[in-house]
């Protein structure tokens, strides 16, 4: 990932003979159309820059807030093996947040500004993390369904037109696959366990199914950003296309587990060659997005508390670095 600091060496001069912004925009779109990658110092329309800043920073915030629901179970993991795996997974989410913040910074926003937007509540993050993790099975359901849905969303972004975002996504997708498999393994172990364990797995599926389906965002008819994002090759598939793909691969997995997906309308449609689902409760989606989910307040409070508690560490490190620098400059 290149960086914002690199960009301060100078604004790129406008290409010769391409004076008007319409000509620049047309040349930009031509580069996108032939699958050329856009890099930090390339000219780009302001709307492209702002769209990417919004999307990448929301994505980064999601990784950071996403550590909370699972972190809730680290001290109560049932075995040492599960505990080691869960710590590694949560650490990965933190790492993914770092890759993504770095990618967003190449567009000219500072890390501090993005953190500020998250903590003030101005920025959004994935609505899924505003649901509570009530049992150990939720850790399995999150890995299987939430990470499964995330992978489905993220794989096409590996080919995003913006180079730093695409490269960050390649790294993330490589690491994400273990997350989903460890989640499915937890579900499988519970599903093959005692009656109480099977009930716990079913209860987790019950609560996580619909929020996972909603992770793909509003239906295409209501998605205001989709068309432009597709033209810019930030997005490669529509929300509904990705949602359908996820449903088609996940239903057989639930059947293998012997668990029931909480949707009486769910059925295989022979003509469409797809599993079709019942209506999605978009009121719930919009309510959670607007801050009225079960854990919105708790999540933000946890992030703010962590930020405040870490303040003295950041200040001490900066003071130490300044002192070291002045010692070096005074040395004979």
């Amino acid at each position: 990932m290149y960086t914002q600091a690199l960009d301060t060496h100078g604004q790129e001069p406008l290409p010769a003979g391409a004076g008007s912004s319409a000509a620049l925009a047309q040349r930009f779109q031509e580069r996108i159309d032939v699958e050329e990658k856009i890099e930090p110092k390339s000219w780009m329309p302001d709307a492209y820059r702002q769209t990417l800043i919004r999307q990448i920073s929301q994505h980064a915030h999601s990784e950071i807030v996403g550590m909370l629901p699972e972190g809730n179970w680290i001290t109560r993991a049932p075995t040492l093996r599960r505990k080691a795996v869960l710590i590694a997974k949560v650490q990965d989410e933190g790492g993914h947040g770092m890759y993504l913040y770095s990618a967003a910074e190449t567009l000219g926003i500072s890390r501090a500004e993005m953190i500020e937007q998250l903590l003030s509540g101005a920025a959004r993050y994935s609505s899924i993390f505003n649901y509570p993790t009530l049992s150990w099975a939720d850790v399995g359901a999150i890995g299987w369904l939430v990470d499964g849905a995330a992978i489905m969303n993220q794989i096409p972004i590996c080919r995003c037109s913006y180079g730093p975002y695409a490269r960050a996504m390649v790294r993330i997708c490589k690491e994400e696959s273990f997350h989903q498999r460890q989640g499915f393994e937890i579900m499988l172990t519970l599903a093959q366990g005692s009656e109480a364990q099977r009930a716990m797995a079913q209860d987790a599926l019950q609560r996580w199914w619909w929020p996972s389906i909603m992770m793909f965002g509003p239906s295409d008819a209501d998605s205001k950003h989709t068309a432009q994002s597709m033209r810019w090759k930030i997005k490669r598939f529509s929300n509904d296309e990705l949602r359908q793909k996820f449903i088609d691969i996940t239903v057989p997995q639930a059947q293998f587990l012997g668990l029931t997906i909480p949707d009486p309308a769910l059925h295989w449609d022979e003509a469409a060659q797809h599993y079709l689902i019942g209506p999605i409760d978009w009121n719930e989606f919009h309510a959670v997005l607007a801050g009225h989910g079960p854990c919105n307040r708790e999540r933000l409070e946890a992030r703010r508390a962590a930020h405040e508690a870490g303040r003295w560490v950041r200040e001490a490190a900066a003071a130490h670095a300044a002192k070291e620098r002045s010692r070096q400059s005074q040395a004979p």
Binding site: T3, A5, E12, P13, S42, Y99, S102, E175, H320
Partner: protein
Amino acid sequence: MSSDWPLFEVFIRSRSGLEHKHVGSVHAADARMAIEHARDVYTRRQEGVSLWVVRSVDIVASDPEEADALFEPARDKVYRHPTFYAIPEEVKNL
């Protein structure tokens, strides 16, 4: 709003004998912390045996708009590649 620690670019040597390659960046108060952060962020799966960190402000990059002027002159000099020269098949070891 608090200000960020300086930015460092991170380079990893993935195996002994290979060159260091750019992988991303980290914020850190000083170079030593940058190495530690780079270890945590970029080498959780044995991605490397050696790390370099360089302050991002110390890197000078070529301008994409000058790419043609810089790199185009090499395009028509195919005679710099061995495959440009036709050698009879019976001649060996060339």
